[in-house]
Point group: C2
Chain length 282, copies 2
Amino acid sequence: MTILTKISSNKMFGGVQNVFAHDSKELGCSMKFAIFIPQECGYSKVPVIYWLSGLECNETNCIQKSGIQRYAAEYGIVIVCPDTSPRGLNLPGEKDSWDFGEGAGFYVDATETPWNKNYRMYSYVTSELIDVINANFPVIPGKQSIMGHSMGGHGALICALKNPNLYRSVSAFAPICNPSQGAWGKKALEGYLGAENKGLWPQWDATELVKSYSGPPIELFIDQGAADPFLTQLLPENLIDACKDTQIPAILQMREGYDHSYYYIATFIGKHVAYHAEYLCN
Amino acid sequence: MTILTKISSNKMFGGVQNVFAHDSKELGCSMKFAIFIPQECGYSKVPVIYWLSGLECNETNCIQKSGIQRYAAEYGIVIVCPDTSPRGLNLPGEKDSWDFGEGAGFYVDATETPWNKNYRMYSYVTSELIDVINANFPVIPGKQSIMGHSMGGHGALICALKNPNLYRSVSAFAPICNPSQGAWGKKALEGYLGAENKGLWPQWDATELVKSYSGPPIELFIDQGAADPFLTQLLPENLIDACKDTQIPAILQMREGYDHSYYYIATFIGKHVAYHAEYLCN
């Protein structure tokens, strides 16, 4: 039985925006997650969307800056936003970089020491967190989708591609689509999996996962600002090319003039919630 | 001629969310303000709403957390959010309190030393800032309204009550309605105006201004969370009683279960923009 500690609770759009902490077995530390519970949950179970945040973020960025709750309230969907890494472990080097270690778990299960014991964000997101949510909140088990931003967009894509039946739908804002080929991704995969273990990398790289995908039909909805200064890190074209080759349906929605920020996300997050609602609410 | 320095610029809801800095004559320091410019400004001038933030806030809180841009884009209205005090003056005691000095200008013109030279947020907001906006952005001079939160709600109310023809409409979230009677207000008025100068206080207190109001009809739209932990500081009932006595029309919209946070503001800010649009866009 997981014990949840309520960190904060604020009424919003008729529902409630909560933040909880719990002791994570996968990560070996206390973890926070935010959960928006719409008014409907007072009388029925509802679907849930998991949101994975980007580098340097935690459980609060999405709930403070995206405006997602308005749309979640409209459709009657729970939104869960976990933190982006284990915290407070005091591993050597854990706080040295903004793009590695704390705040940058990269949604993989690390194999390299000293990270392999705790940096297991993939297993946390796809298993432990779902169990915690299903056991403690009025959600319909299995009626779940996943989305994210940047590093979290990468996370959403690999979680869905590696578990074809787990999520009803997947979408991503400005995801790191081919981490083996970009600086952020290389740093993370080298650190968590090993520079010399390149054979492990493809199973944590959306573009490589698409190339070897053999599951049931799955559509990838990629949203990308055309003025994003990090395009050379994100490489959406590599993912789209791989999808074309393997006939996996992919939507690449380029947004003229938009950048990588939450101002961009806030503009289009309603369209993403509506997209997931098609899969979750019918 | 004011020189504006662009601090940031992000496309959002078809328009652009900018932050600028400029040298303020009233305040004797560099000041930042945020301005959302909707798409309409590409081909016509539009009305403007000024947003005043609360204690500890700056020019970014509203633009990051309220979701106001969605509604501003919908109605075609510019939103201007100034910082909440002068910054970087190094006055003695300026940074000692979270509720006085930097981040807490209280929208008054101070008379006490050492504040009286720079802490002139009232004149900045009602005069200098309007001139800067009118001279540099595609707004319709005079088609302007004002709103704010907490200390900024107090600011919006006194700016409107002291200048009956300046704003087309005024609204406030959880405003400090009667600062002479609450701890935050007393600290600010004592510090900026003098504990012994109580004769000056009523001209900076919305409830007192209502009692002596003799201008043209003006409606006050007050929004208040019923679960706000600071209700005994805010005292909306004092303002409403004064409005009844003087037959000034006031709307007090109590929101059951809502607190003092931006989660509350985000829920209802669309209704406030719609309210102001009735005065600005017809």
